[in-house]
């Protein structure tokens, strides 16, 4: 079994055994989704117009919890130091965790979609497209997020630092995912979906490569 597969297995097992946490994070996202409507007011048309933005903001807020949690458990009893002693490269550990976080974020996002549809009347028939955007957007949050979570879990003021570092960085993810989701919900007469999806994919590609490359330097002492 390759080290990456072993790392993914370990992280997925860890998530499965703490599944109450995933559920709590999902409920947090759903409650954020509910709260956003109070900022706009009960104007059904305006809410529908902004539904995609609400969905991604809710997922972004939830992601900071998911990402922080994924390294928090490793810090207990210095488990992460033990992992680094294994004959596997830190890169394998990074990709294992990033992929596990990606899956969890996609799952939370998929769970939030029905909430968005019900609360904001923002349905779409292009489910495959929506699933694709969710997968790409979650990947864009997970790659830099996992790297920063590895740093901040070992720093003081970690609850503040992770969103502080992550939010400005994922502006392109937020912009392109919101735009693409909006186009799926509200219609795409100008055919803009492709360039936005491409931008999101480019961000993913750059950050999955760059963060994997730099992770060694984050964990070495």
């Amino acid at each position: 079994m390759s080290p990456v597969v072993a790392a993914i297995r370990k992280d997925l097992l860890l998530q499965w055994r703490t599944r109450a946490q995933v559920l709590a994070i999902f409920v947090f996202g759903a409650s954020a989704l509910l709260l956003f409507s109070f900022a706009i007011g009960p104007d059904a048309e305006a809410l529908r117009l902004h539904a995609a933005g609400f969905l991604w903001l809710a997922l972004l807020l939830s992601s900071t919890l998911t990402l922080a949690e994924s390294f928090q458990s490793e810090m207990e009893q210095r488990a992460f130091e033990g992992l680094l002693l294994l004959p596997a490269s830190p890169r394998a550990l990074y990709y294992g965790k990033a992929i596990a976080n990606w899956l969890q974020l996609t799952l939370v996002g998929a769970g939030l979609v029905p909430f968005m549809v019900v609360l904001y009347d923002a349905g779409t028939t292009r489910l495959l497209g929506l699933a694709g955007i969710l997968v790409l957007g979650a990947a864009g949050l997970s790659a830099p997020g996992t790297l920063y979570a590895a740093m901040t879990a070992q720093a003081r003021a970690r609850q503040t630092l992770l969103p502080l570092l992550l939010f400005p960085l994922v502006v392109p993810v937020l912009l392109s995912a919101v735009k693409a989701t909006s186009l799926l919900i509200l219609g795409d007469p100008m055919g803009q979906l492709r360039p936005w999806t491409l931008l999101l994919a480019c961000f993913d590609l750059i950050h999955w490569a760059l963060c994997g490359l730099l992770f060694d330097r984050v964990v070495e002492d």
């Binding site: 740093m151 003081r156 630092l161 570092l165 502006v171 912009l175 730099l214 330097r217």
Partner: protein
């Protein structure tokens, strides 16, 4: 016997940074005086345009400082050396300060010209995102006590943030396709060139001097932090 090589950085001495700061301030005073009182009034915007003489040099030098920070991060990560970590801290701090000033000057100019303090123009938005991204790295440095980790982490974060800048710029440009045309040297009349050039060098010297001085402060702090429990001189040891 332990190695006698002291790993701690030795801050440079000398008055070059002070000279640079003095020269920068003098040039800035000269260029701004020229821009405010001698240069002709711009025909559409009137006196409001005169903020360009500090705004454009600030923009150029903010980008320069943050690019230098990126270079420091690369060298610090690839070759190591506390000097580069200190320079990274200094360049990021000066760069963020200049970028904040840039946003403030831009808002002051935009209110009478565009009628709003802020516009979601790609340059403005990218600058704001950069301010937050690099300010977050400065915050990270404050919250990491181990200097080795702090150096590695802030270099990694600076490289990622810098790599993100073009993506942010393009995404904002696509998102807000109604951006304004910006002034560049080609769009500026010759009569306005000199004060602009003088101020550009003024801010450049000021920035270089501040970065050099700030790097010294960072190195002095590092010396303190890295200071091992140095063995006391033999005579003193005997006395204890």
């Amino acid at each position: 016997m332990e190695s006698a090589v002291d790993p701690r950085p030795t801050p440079a001495e000398g008055s070059i940074p002070y000279l640079l700061i003095g020269l920068g301030l003098a040039l800035l005073l000269w260029g701004s005086g020229w821009g405010l009182f001698v240069a002709p009034q711009e025909s559409y915007m009137g006196d409001v345009q005169r903020i360009m003489y500090v705004h454009v040099p600030t923009a150029w030098n903010a980008m320069l400082a943050l690019t230098f920070a990126f270079a420091c991060a690369m060298v610090s990560l690839l070759r190591g050396g506390w000097k580069w970590d200190a320079r990274l801290e200094a360049a990021m701090e000066v760069g963020v300060t200049l970028a904040v000033l840039l946003c403030i000057q831009g808002s002051l100019w935009a209110k009478p010209t565009w009628g709003v303090w802020w516009d979601w123009d790609p340059r403005l938005t990218t600058t704001a995102v950069m301010v937050f991204a690099f300010a977050a790295i400065l915050a990270l440095r404050r919250f990491v006590d181990d200097p080795v980790r702090r150096a590695a982490w802030s270099a990694v974060a600076a490289i990622i943030a810098f790599a993100d800048v073009p993506i942010v710029y393009f995404s904002v440009r696509w998102w807000n396709s109604l951006h304004q045309l910006q002034s560049s040297p080609e769009t500026v009349s010759r009569a306005f060139h000199w004060p602009l050039r003088i101020n550009a060098f003024g801010v450049l010297f000021l920035m270089s001097g501040l970065i050099a001085l700030r790097a010294r402060v960072a190195e002095l702090r590092l010396r303190d932090e890295l200071g091992p429990p140095l063995p006391l001189p033999a005579a003193a040891q005997g006395g204890l």
